[in-house]
């Protein structure tokens, strides 16, 4: 199946696929023109699609909030 990826999540596809690759070694996740192609024998593709979506969410949240985390640590360590 192919999971469509909204444009605002496209910058996070590469990092999400790295993580998905080791979390689900029995599945294949391949970036294609209009999304991510998911291949997995005997797996619930609906569940996997949700995990791919969540991986994209997580990578976007992580990247966008990293400056907040850095500023927090700076604040509590008086840097």
């Amino acid at each position: 199946m192919i999971l469509p990826v909204a444009e605002l999540f496209e910058p996070y596809v590469a990092s999400a696929l790295v993580r998905l690759g080791y979390l689900y070694p029995g599945a294949r996740f391949v970036p294609v023109a209009n999304g991510i192609e998911i291949t997995a024998d005997g797996a619930d593709h609906g569940v996997l699609a949700r995990e791919v979506q969540y991986a994209l969410y997580r990578e976007k949240i992580y990247a966008e909030t990293l400056p907040l985390r850095q500023s927090l640590i700076d604040a509590v360590t008086h840097r």
Partner: protein, 469 residues
């Protein structure tokens, strides 16, 4: 408005659990998650996040500063060495099938501290920069060298303003000398109790007479010193698990209200029994069913028994600063506030590290009592002792409540850089925190009865189970 990073986890088909880095949490739905991830929060979302401490307007405002305080309180600070595990002898008068420490036979030579080692240990303790000390005597069976225990205790009492002592003993010996040693309010007993006499016999003593002797000694110890000064825990063999009720009843019969279920640790002699591929799933299933059983039983009897580790994990979700248990905290920097001195004077960052060295798996010793701590070697374990920016933990909603255990990773997998999700530590704690969260959000009065008691609360306010949307 700035929203602090939120991590999320599905707790069922409809509900998503969200937590920030300071441990603040709430439950919402998939629609909120989608709005949050897309940067399309509604006014209602923003209002909730702001009111609930998950957001701030500008750096340095009250919301920002209070979040920084809560985040800091979630980090375990280990300032000075004040908890030392001492192994005065490796000899033991039992030969339990799943002994975790590769103990030596009772009559063996060369497995006790020498007089010189005792002197070195006392000098090492003297050099500690603390006025308070907790000494835990491990073994082997430490009571085989009660003279060494007494020498350490006498020294610590005069050296430190406050000193407490825990003797981890099989309580097979409990005569005049042992009773006199324990007859002191600063000295505590920790022992193993695997269930009824027949269970304890089968798993530990393999001698009904010895098992009966232990039960009599435990009863005597509690009768003399009270249940507050005696703790016990069972080691659970998944191939021969105890009946839940008989295990709980046995503990209750001694007045013990806290049970700490511990799986066999595949170290020491126990390594001869190979773990199975599905041990983690079996353990999680066993553990979850035990907690559910306890909840039903507590409600029916009105008497509360806890599983220590579950209560501890619950406490770590509900409040910061629950860092007293060294197996679960973050960071968990090696050899900072506690370490182990083995029978030969070598120093280890934990008891498990000592076991790994004993079986020749890997030498994780970090110095010795004479030469002192090898800080360079101890520092090698530091990167794995912090979970905040682990590539998996950084996405995990339970990170603020969890920890890390690089020694366990080395023991099981020979390395510390596995994906967290593939480790026993992660799989075990995900399951525990999933169950904690389900119970926190349960409206079942049976669940709330135990939860209140385990958390030390008289009521279970709705504020402990915040929901948005």
């Amino acid at each position: 408005m700035n929203v602090w990073p939120l991590r999320f986890r599905a707790i069922d088909n409809d509900r998503r659990f969200f937590a920030d880095d300071a441990g603040g949490y709430f439950v919402s739905d998939e629609a909120f998650l989608d709005r949050y991830a897309r940067g399309a929060l509604s006014g209602s979302d923003q209002g909730f996040l702001s009111r609930s401490g998950h957001a701030f307007a500008r750096s340095g405002d009250l919301a920002h500063t209070s979040f920084a305080w809560r985040w800091t309180a979630r980090q375990s600070v280990q300032e000075r060495l004040s908890y030392v595990i001492l192994v005065p002898t490796l000899r033991c008068n039992l030969a339990c099938t799943y002994c975790q420490v590769s103990r030596a036979a009772e009559g063996a030579q060369g497995y006790d501290w020498s007089a010189a080692t005792l002197e070195d240990v006392l000098a090492f303790l003297d050099g500690l920069d603390t006025n308070e000390i907790k000494i835990e005597f491990q073994g082997g069976e430490p009571l085989l060298r009660i003279d060494l225990l007494d020498a350490v205790r006498r020294y610590c009492r005069q050296r430190f303003a406050r000193a407490t002592f825990v003797v981890c003993t099989n309580l097979q010996r409990f005569g005049v000398e042992e009773i006199a040693f324990f007859d002191s309010s600063d000295t505590f007993i920790s022992t193993s109790l695997d269930g009824r006499i027949a269970d304890h016999d089968r798993r530990r003593t393999q001698d009904r007479g010895q098992a009966q002797e232990f039960f009599a000694n435990l009863s005597d110890a509690i009768g003399r010193f009270g249940a507050d000064r005696v703790s016990a825990l069972p080691t659970i063999d998944l191939d021969d698990p105890p009946n839940f009720d008989s295990l709980i009843e046995t503990y209750e019969s001694f007045g013990l209200k806290s049970i700490y279920l511990r799986p066999i640790n595949y170290q020491g002699f126990a390594r001869r029994r190979q773990p199975r591929a599905n041990d983690l799933a079996r353990w999680n299933d066993f553990y979850q069913r035990f907690i559910e059983h306890l909840i039903r039983r507590n409600f029916e009897t009105g008497q509360v028994v806890e599983e220590f580790y579950f209560s501890h994990c619950l406490g770590r979700v509900l409040r910061p600063g629950q860092d007293g248990h060294v197996d679960l905290r973050n960071p968990n920097l090696p050899a900072t506030d506690y370490l182990v001195v083995d029978f030969d004077g070598k120093l280890y960052p934990s008891d498990e590290a000592r076991m790994l060295a004993r079986i020749g798996h890997v030498d994780l010793s970090i110095g010795n009592v004479r030469g002192g701590l090898d800080r360079r070697k101890a520092a090698a374990l530091v990167p794995s002792a912090i979970n905040n920016f682990d590539p998996d933990c950084v996405h995990c909603a339970y990170q603020p409540y969890c920890g890390s255990d690089p020694i366990d990773d080395v023991s099981r997998y020979g390395r510390v850089d596995l994906p967290r999700a593939d480790t026993w530590f992660c799989g075990r704690h995900l399951a525990i925190f999933d169950q904690v969260v389900r119970l926190i959000y349960s409206h079942d009065e049976k669940d709330q009865f135990s939860l209140r008691a385990w958390a030390g609360l008289s009521t279970w306010p709705a504020s402990l189970a915040p929901v948005h949307g």
